[in-house]
Every structure is written in structure tokens, then in C-alpha cells.
């Protein structure tokens, strides 16, 4: 099943669902013919898109709203905060090409503060699926919930068979005694590789997919903290306001300390290019992640081999 098939199936079963877009149709090209007036394209108008979605939600609809993640969360931020947020309306935001997925577009298109912005809105929920299969498993619950939601859309093919999804629950892929990697979104795939590489070096490596960033699985995080080993947060996001911050908040709230290595973008946008080149340049391939973790553990990094080639993005938008 694809994103488009899921949304079509859901919309045909539930006439509250309305599909909206600010002329971002990459994943929903065939829906106008199927949904008729329940497919609304407002053109390149992210703010009007969100305001109109709020209006539709006031009338009992559940708008699933599409735009590039950066324009959705930044251009329309005040509309999301003020119309959807204050109104507590069940508008479902699908942010396209978030994080590293905007690969060659450049900093204008880099949504790497979206998690920070969206989770700062009272009542907003935030999700970052690891891949397409993860996303398709998550969306039904997200669309069915009565609250606003932001989803980092991710259609990359799965390299892992995911556990069933529950809002507010993390997916514990593995537990480890030397280090635990916390991640979300498209970098999950690279952390899987990094884990294999480190395990091959004799390390015991835990890995957690924080697909539900808000609400976050505080229990899962506290379990990791109590284990006492190194924690690594891996995210295609500014270091401010994302997973590293979420973990810091959980630690402080519980009066706990931990040794944490944040792998994130610090005070800068990333260098644009093909996705494989971006990950290589920014140090986020599986091999780079493994190397950076090994260094933090005080281990030699010479023997860490290369992981599989990074598959390129297949969207030009």
C-alpha cells in the first residue's frame, strides 16, 4: 500500500476526511478524480491553506493537509499556532521532504526546526515515521485522533519490520548495555546500519525509534537513562528543540543526569546535494554514525566498515 492508497481508502470510508494541499501533489496525484470536492488545492498559499483547513475542521471535517514541511511549518506557523492550535482543531499536517529529505533543494527548503516549532504548540502532536511502512502503520491512529497532528512524511522503503504503532509509544528495536541510540525519521535506516557495525565490533547497542515525538514515550527514555550507558540522539534537525532537547527536558523533569552524545545540526543548515552526498558530508551515514559513537566510547574506529550505499531520494520536488 502507498500513502495515496491509504488516504484514499480512509477518505472513502470516512467522509469527514478532506484532502488539502498548497499545490504539493507528489504523493496525492490521483486523488482529485477520486475525491472530487473533498480534494482542495489552494495553490501556493500555505497560510490560506491552514486557515481554510481550520474552517473545514470547525464544520466537523478532518483535513489532511499537504505542503513542503518547511513552508507548512514556517510560512504558515502563526496560522497553525493561532487557528489550529488555539482552536484545538483536528487538522492533520503532512510535511513533505522534512529534514535531510529535501536533499538538493538548499536551506530555503530545509525543515530542520519543524519538530521544535510544532511541539511547542499546546495540544499539537508530532510524529516522525522511520520509513513508508512505519508511516502507513502510524497514520490511521493519527488521523483518527481528535487532536491536531504534524507528521514528517517519509516514503523511503522500509529496511526493518516494525512493531505495531501506538500514539505515545516508542519502538524498542534493541536494548544494549554499552550505548543506546535514540532516533526518529529517515535516519532510523542509518542507525540500523550503525548498530550492526558497532555490534560487529563487539559492542552491545540499543536502538529506539521515537516515531511518536509528542507525546513522547517517557517511560522508554527513563528505562534507557537508568541503564546508565551512553545515550546518542541522532536527528536531522537543529540541535535546539528536537530529540536532544526532548531528552534533556525528560532528564531535568526527573532530576536525572546522563551521558548524552547529540548528533544533530548545530547552528547551521546542511550542505545541499544528493541525499547520499548530504549524509556523507554531514556525517550521518551508518558508518559515520558508528564512527562518531565509537569515538565517544573511546574506541578505535579503523575497523568500522562501510555500510550499504545510501539509496537516493526519488522526489525532485
Amino acid at each position: 500500500m502507498t500513502y495515496e492508497e491509504l488516504i484514499k481508502e480512509t477518505a472513502l470510508a470516512d467522509d469527514r476526511l478532506v484532502v488539502m494541499t498548497a499545490e504539493n501533489r507528489a504523493l496525492i496525484r490521483n486523488l482529485p478524480a477520486v475525491l472530487g470536492p473533498r480534494f482542495i488545492d489552494t495553490g501556493i498559499t500555505e497560510q490560506t491553506l491552514i486557515g481554510a483547513a481550520a474552517g473545514l475542521a470547525l464544520r466537523g471535517r478532518v483535513p489532511v493537509v499537504h505542503a513542503l514541511a518547511t513552508f507548512l511549518t514556517l510560512r504558515a506557523f502563526e496560522f497553525i499556532r493561532t487557528d489550529v492550535g488555539i482552536g484545538k482543531l483536528p487538522v492533520k499536517l503532512s510535511g513533505f521532504v522534512p529534514g535531510f529529505l529535501s536533499d538538493g533543494n538548499g536551506p530555503t527548503h530545509q525543515a530542520i526546526e519543524d519538530v521544535s516549532l510544532m511541539r511547542g504548540i499546546p495540544g499539537m502532536t508530532v510524529f516522525a515515521p522511520a520509513d513508508e511502512a512505519d508511516m502507513l502503520a502510524m497514520l490511521p491512529a493519527i488521523w483518527a485522533s481528535p487532536v491536531p497532528a504534524y507528521v514528517r512524511v517519509n516514503t523511503r522503503p522500509a529496511t526493518y519490520e516494525h512493531a505495531p504503532f501506538e500514539i505515545g509509544k516508542a519502538e524498542i528495536v534493541a536494548e544494549g548495555t554499552d550505548v543506546t541510540i535514540l532516533t526518529y525519521g529517515m535516519l532510523f535506516e542509518q542507525t540500523l546500519v550503525a548498530r550492526e557495525l558497532l555490534q560487529a565490533q563487539g559492542k552491545s547497542v540499543g536502538l529506539i525509534n521515537l516515531r511518536s515525538l509528542k507525546p513522547v514515550d517517557e517511560t522508554a527514555l527513563l528505562d534507557v537513562v537508568r541503564r546508565g550507558s551512553l545515550i546518542v540522539t541522532v536527528e536531522d534537525h537543529f540541535i535546539t528543540g528536537g530529540l536532544y532537547s526532548i531528552l534533556a527536558e525528560v532528564l531535568l523533569r526527573n532530576q536525572l543526569m546522563a551521558r548524552v552524545l547529540p548528533l544533530a545540526l548545530e547552528e547551521r543548515w546542511y550542505r545541499p546535494g544528493r541525499l547520499s552526498a548530504v549524509l556523507e558530508h554531514e556525517g550521518f551515514t551508518g558508518q559515520h554514525i558508528a564512527r562518531r559513537i565509537a569515538e565517544a566510547l573511546g574506541e578505535t574506529t579503523e575497523n568500522i566498515s562501510a555500510g550499504p550505499a545510501v539509496m537516493e531520494n526519488h522526489f525532485a520536488e
Partner: protein
């Protein structure tokens, strides 16, 4: 419009203006901007729209969205006079025990949506109008903006989209009182010629005197102006209308009068005798 109805609406509007003056003390409110659209709101709720205290949950009701949220005293005054809102709640103005503050919110019955940040509700009203149309309803969806609010690009963006989608059940009403917060609109961001701007954005436009109930009735009863276009009604109004001592003054947007001034202004409302105002003028922005 017959004389009897006209007098009835005038009496209602006078009482609404009294509420506005009463709210213009002990913290104050946006008096000038409220007085300019009092007649418009009175006409719409008392004589035009199918919305009453007993049908606020009816999806077939007419919708009014107040995008220039700072004129909420005129809305609440109208709500009190028409039985939407208990008069005692106005006495809670700016008390944290209630929700009566400088901008509208849905804790007050009759308020369709909160506002305060300008340029938002044209798009929210657009979404509501699209849904009403999708469901085959013929109710009206009205959104009132200020004229200074027309500086905001999202007003125009919404009209572009409404026009593209031929949303003819949406009506945007401009309270054209010729002032924005601190200055005359034409001295800052000139809007004229205004009607052709809306026409160029694909709307069917009428321009009327927003204090003349007959003209309001003629315009609103002709809605929709087109089968394929959103409608726009530009209501030429006077900021501070009804109180000659503050009418059309740039420095009387937000007012916080003393108790004595309130008494004087209430007299002025009825007699049109100018009040000698000594309270300081306030610049909010």
C-alpha cells in the same frame, strides 16, 4: 426599509454604543474601531442573518466571522441586546474570572471563532463556506475585516483562492473607517481605489454607507452578487461614530476613559454635545 424598522435598529445601535462606552474604562478597549462597525453588526444580527441564541449549533445557520477582532465590544454589545450573552458578563470585562477581553473567543456564545491576529478569518471563513457548499447548503458566510487589516497579504490570498474556487457563498465585508491603528490608511498604505482592487481579485463588489440601515439592507439582501464570484461589501464608516468628540481621530483607537468621561460620553451619545476629554490618548502599537 420602513421607518419603524429603521428606528428599531437605530435604538438597538444606540444601546450597543452605550455598552461600548461602558467597556471603554477601567482598562479600556478599542472604542473607535468598535463604534465604526456597531451599525453593521446590529443590522446583521438583528435583521439579516439566520443566527440566533437558539440555533448556534445548527449547521445551517448563517456564519459571521469577526476578523477585526478588536471591535469585539460592538459584537458583545449586540449579543447582549439580542439575548446571546448575559449582560452581567460584560461587567467581567478584563477579569480573569470570565473570558471577556479585548478579542473575541469561543467561550462567549455566538462567537464562531477567535480572532485578534489580523488577516486570519478570511481563510477560516473560506473553509467554512467551502464546506457549506460541499454539503449543498445555501447559508451565508460573512467575514468582517478592518480596512487597515487589508495590509495583510492573507486577506488577498484568501480572495484569490475563493475566487479560483468560485466560492460565491462567501462575503467579505470591509469596515472602511479610513484609519488603521495610529494613522489614516491613506497616509500609510493607501487603499484607494479599493473596489477595483477587489474586482481585480475576482470578487463582485458593492460599496455603501455602513451607517445607513437602508443601504445595508439593500446590499445584503442582494447577496450573492454573482453565481461564480465571492462577494465584497465595502462599508464606508466613521471611526468613533456616534461620539463627535472622538470621531475620525487617529489618536482614539484604543480608549481608557475616566468614570466621569464615561458619564459625559453617554450623554454625548444621546445629545451629540461634545465632551471635553482629558484622559490621555493611547498608542497601542
Amino acid at each position: 426599509m420602513n421607518l419603524e424598522k429603521q428606528q428599531h435598529l437605530q435604538q438597538l445601535a444606540l444601546r450597543v454604543r452605550e455598552h461600548i462606552v461602558h467597556l471603554s474604562t477601567d482598562g479600556g478597549c478599542f472604542t473607535g474601531a468598535s463604534l465604526s462597525c456597531a451599525d453593521l453588526l446590529v443590522y446583521l444580527y438583528a435583521d439579516c442573518l439566520n443566527v440566533r441564541p437558539d440555533n448556534l449549533q445548527d449547521p445551517n445557520r448563517d456564519y459571521l466571522f469577526l476578523s477585526k477582532g478588536h471591535d469585539v465590544p460592538a459584537l458583545y454589545g449586540t449579543f447582549v441586546e439580542l439575548g446571546f450573552l448575559d449582560k452581567d458578563r460584560l461587567a467581567q470585562h478584563l477579569s480573569t474570572d470570565d473570558h471577556i477581553y479585548w478579542h473575541p473567543n469561543r467561550n462567549v456564545p455566538g462567537v464562531e471563532f477567535h480572532s485578534g491576529s489580523l488577516g486570519h478569518l478570511p481563510s477560516v471563513a473560506l473553509g467554512v463556506a467551502m464546506d457549506c457548499r460541499m454539503r449543498g447548503q445555501d447559508n451565508k458566510v460573512i467575514v468582517i475585516t478592518g480596512d487597515g487589516e487589508l495590509n495583510e497579504g492573507t486577506v488577498w490570498e484568501s480572495l484569490l483562492v475563493a475566487s479560483a474556487h468560485q466560492v460565491n457563498n462567501l462575503t467579505l465585508v470591509v469596515d472602511r473607517n479610513h484609519f488603521q491603528a495610529n494613522v489614516a490608511t491613506e497616509d500609510l498604505i493607501p487603499l484607494e481605489p479599493l473596489a477595483p482592487k477587489f474586482e481585480a481579485f475576482g470578487c463582485a463588489v458593492r460599496r455603501i454607507d455602513g451607517h445607513d440601515f437602508s443601504q445595508l439592507e439593500d446590499a445584503f439582501s442582494a447577496l450573492p452578487f454573482s453565481d461564480t464570484k465571492p462577494s465584497v461589501i465595502i462599508c464606508d464608516t466613521v471611526r468613533g461614530r456616534g461620539l463627535p468628540s472622538i470621531e475620525a481621530r487617529a489618536d482614539r483607537w484604543f480608549c481608557n476613559f475616566s468614570a466621569e468621561e464615561v458619564e459625559d460620553l453617554l450623554r454625548e451619545l444621546h445629545s451629540q454635545e461634545a465632551t471635553n476629554l482629558t484622559s490621555e490618548t493611547l498608542t497601542v502599537r
